[in-house]
Symmetry: C3
Subunit: 138 residues, 3 copies
């Protein structure tokens, strides 16, 4: 069994945003030399997400608007605010899109359907954050 680990650093210029990371993950799969296995990709932070959806800009705006509607930025309404944190909404938004994805690796490639792309969802940006890629297989 082989394993492989790699970190991607992301510094999003805005508080909220969605960034495509498919190429970075495909590169890691290639570097790993793993032909058959599983690839975990997760945010190492609790205010951001890694998820799979469509690579369409309008949809990304829809996702951000929808998350804002379901879990609005409104520090005074959250108890997390009492610790001096104004980012409770980010913790909730990330709960919807999820922390991680697990992707099959087949014949040395991400085993994807036609429209699957990997994204990093940032809900408390303007600082350096990290995404972990971990592969196991053969």
């Amino acid at each position: 069994m082989k394993s492989f680990r790699k970190i991607i650093e992301i510094n999003h210029p805005k508080k909220y945003g969605i960034i495509r990371i498919t190429d970075e993950v495909e590169k890691a799969v290639k570097e790993s030399g793993i032909k058959e296995g599983l690839c975990l990709v997760n945010s190492m932070h609790v205010t951001s997400s890694v998820f799979i959806n469509d690579n369409e800009f309008g949809l990304h705006q829809d996702l951000l608007d929808w998350l804002e509607n379901l879990a609005p930025y409104s520090p005074s309404k959250y108890r997390h605010n009492r610790t001096g944190e104004d980012n409770a909404d980010a913790h909730l938004k990330r709960s919807i899109l999820g922390r991680e994805v697990v992707i099959a690796v087949t014949n040395g490639k991400l085993d994807f359907g036609p429209w699957e792309e990997i994204f990093y969802g940032e809900f408390d940006g303007q600082r350096v954050k990290r995404v972990l890629i971990k592969l196991i297989g053969e």
Copy 2:
């Protein structure tokens, strides 16, 4: 280490629906010959989900009604509509139920609690779609 890959094809007669796929996944585990490992089951499409919940019809209706309430079908309200797509709601609904499940395989079987069953959630049906099953283990 062994690995195993299998595709299930699903063509749901309606736009929205929930289909039980536990038996197909159990069959794949048996075919794989893997006794101890992990089993990934994911939708290969960005408008549908694979998830684990209770096999009860009333609850499935509750799930669909609830998702419609949280992410209504209403093409004109979404920016994704500008590309000619009317299925933005499907991309959002799938974000709640999730793309994938990872299940432990123990003694050659899905290592489930008493009520766990695997479902495919369709939010843009009436066409052939695919679910990927990938196992690794020994």
Copy 3:
């Protein structure tokens, strides 16, 4: 390839609550002897979640209040009620926080960012429930 399986039993004194289980999972990783691999942690029940977020009590209250708002306890409004079950809300709440997490194991430890902690989210408690930990790796 090695594999390891362990069950944690949880009996939450209230219907709803969030319990930190990071230490139990770290202990299982140590017991497994696995240095490089993947660790699956999942609820074996369909009315509770395993998820990763911040270990801050105010935020946990925010999470529970937010879930109650998105999927209220209100048996008569759900069709699941017809089977005599009053816990439809628990099945919906669990759908948002998710059933499982998959965590990288690196150098024999959970490969976490600075604030990542593992929690069990109970939405239908006051009975014994189980969390499954399954590791594979080397």
